[in-house]
Amino acid sequence: MVLLNYLWIILALPLAGAAINGLFGKNWPKRAVNSVAIGSVSLAFLAVAELVREFAQLSPGEIPWVKNYFTWIIAGPFRVNFSLQADQLTIVMLLTVSFVGLLIHIYSTGYMEHEAGYYRFFSYLNLFMFFMLTLVLAANIVVMFVGWEGVGLCSYLLIGFWFLKKSAADAGKKAFIVTRIGDFGFTVGILLLFWTFRSVDFGTIFSKVVESPTDVGVLTSICLLLFTGAIGKSAQLPLYVWLPDAMEGPTPVSALIHAATMVTAGVYMVARMNPLFSRAPIAMLAVAIVGTITAFYAATIGLVQTDIKKVLAYSTVSQLGYMFLGCGMGAFHAGIFHLMTHAFFKGLLFLAAGSVIHAMGGEQDMRQMGGLRKRIPVTYWTMFIATLAIAGFPPFAGFFSKDEILYSAYTGPYANKALYAVALAAALLTSFYMFRLVFLTFFGGPRYDEHKVHVHESPKNMLVPLVILAIFATVGGWFAAPKFWGGQDYFRNFLGPVFKDASNLRQGQFSEFAKVAGNLDAMGPSGSQVTLRPEALAEIEAADHKLELELSGVAVLVALIGFFVAWWLYVRKPKAPEDLAKSVHGPYTVLMNKYYVDELYLALIVRPLLWLSTNVLWHVVDEGMIDGTVNGAARVARGAGGELRKLQSGNARSYAGWVVIGAVGVTVLLLGIWMRMAP
């Protein structure tokens, strides 16, 4: 029971690593920095592993396991404790974050070897781990918000890691400012949450919302406000614009923060708040719609990007959309499952892309690559596996998670066929652009100058994480495989207690289905208790399985189509894409320019804001009013002094005159007072 009582140790380890490297690492040799950074994260990972072991021995009644460390804020009825908690959702997130984080730390030692500011980089990475783990372990929404903002800070620091480059510094600022728009909604959501439930603790809020009916309007507002924060943090429409620019950071950062962990914080938050969300159908629908549209929209942009990291960035935005679709459909476990498998395969894709860039000596444009398959085989194979996983080919991890989401969109408490169709179309696009990336990079002839670029495979400390992640991208979905695939559906059952409410709603839908089928034996007094004849149950299950099998077939078919189209265009007829781009010039240009959204935001928001700031706030308010007040006071004093000093004329007789006038004045005054006082 050591770690269950000392949950904070998991946080303290990476924080200590960040502090040691950040304060003292400047002049240390790289090996010392490495051992502090990787040591602290591997200890944190071991601590998580031990926590999982101890967690497994808890009885169901003790979960969620909440530890209260100290009172942090007291202001009237507003009381916030620094408390951490462990439940099934936390465990999944902890394992994903610490494991992928550790691998990316190891990879970074190779990737960042020749970079200046080595200690700074690892200090930031460790700090990021600290904040992400805080976010995941938090037992109330205020502590969660600390982690939420902290990862935003680290994201800013790491995107702008090469801050001498203007584009990198700008991208860092953009990420910070755009997510701040979402965070405004999040903050208001927290306030409304406290206003409604008089508490910020997850446990208290959830038991209150389950036990006593709360106004749906209030719940919907809270959920929509919190979801605004998730839109910013998880790069959904319309606040996704920062994520593609975030690719200015070093590639391991893109892998860790902008693919595997931080951007999934929004999904985690929505899943964590599931008792609220599942009671606010409109908010659920909003989550699903935003997720689906984003998934499709980002996938279309990904079709034509030529920068290898930009393709992956848009693909991340798109996959995050899938996770929200899953959550919005009430299948929170599917969203979290996709979050986990996505962490494996997208982390791997980014790391492999980093390996490609490393091999090409810094080149990121896929048009300048080609034919790398034979030159960097390990990178090629691991990247190919990740591509199969993201495209949704069985038996790779992405297949199971994506399938689960599509299934819940097709049939479930919030099922919506239109969203299913759009999500399926996005899956087709995903498969196409991912294979396009692979074919452009690794197939065909080399399109770079072979005399200038010396393609070389990356060092071992970069390849080992690639291989490990490739293994997980392959098998990561198996233990969660649904029953008819021969699996145990373990993941869903494990997360069951966290998503009780959502599954209760599913149950309600299930009995609805049974009622229609006319297989009802008996109905409880409230209509919620339903008993089914065993054979009817079997029938329904069989129908369910058949449907799931068919949907899986459709998904795989779609992925295959994407693969073949990409193969046809980029391997079989390498000249075809250019002709195609010419023949559909209009849409191609629109996609190439990312729907002109950046330009739109520039014209609609940035420019007017800049104009207002320059012409009103700067020239009028600051220079006119604030500076005017200060300078005006000085000017009055100087002017008055300038006039009054002329009294000091140097003429003794005028002084004498003033003395006499003064004396007469005082005398008259005293006489006046005396006359008034006299009766």
Binding site: R645, S649, N651, R653
Partner: protein, 102 residues
């Protein structure tokens, strides 16, 4: 024996003081201005003595001695300053001593 009423002394004192003030403001010669100051001091002394006598108290007389002592000290310093000015400027016109100004 008839006693001169105190108001007579006060009127005389006021007249002397007023003359002193007028001379102080209008005259150009430093020595004359200096004499005007002495005149004002002595006008005040007269008022003090008159009140002391009328109220039969010594306080006013003590004050007068102080004034006389301070005036003597002042005349020592003041005359030294006037002498220096006369040496430097070759004039006793106060209008010519106007360098100390804004």
């Amino acid at each position: 024996m008839s006693v001169v009423p105190v108001s007579y002394y006060l009127v005389l004192s006021a007249i002397l003081f007023g003359l002193g003030v007028i001379a102080f403001v209008l005259k150009h010669n430093i020595i004359t201005i200096y004499m005007a100051i002495e005149l004002m001091l002595n006008a005040v002394n007269l008022a003090f003595v008159a009140f002391a006598r009328a109220h039969n108290q010594l306080d006013g007389l003590v004050f007068v001695f102080f004034v006389i002592v301070v005036a003597a000290a002042e005349s020592a310093v003041g005359l030294a300053i006037i002498l220096t000015i006369a040496q430097n400027r070759h004039s006793l016109n106060v209008e010519r001593v106007n360098q100390l100004k804004f």
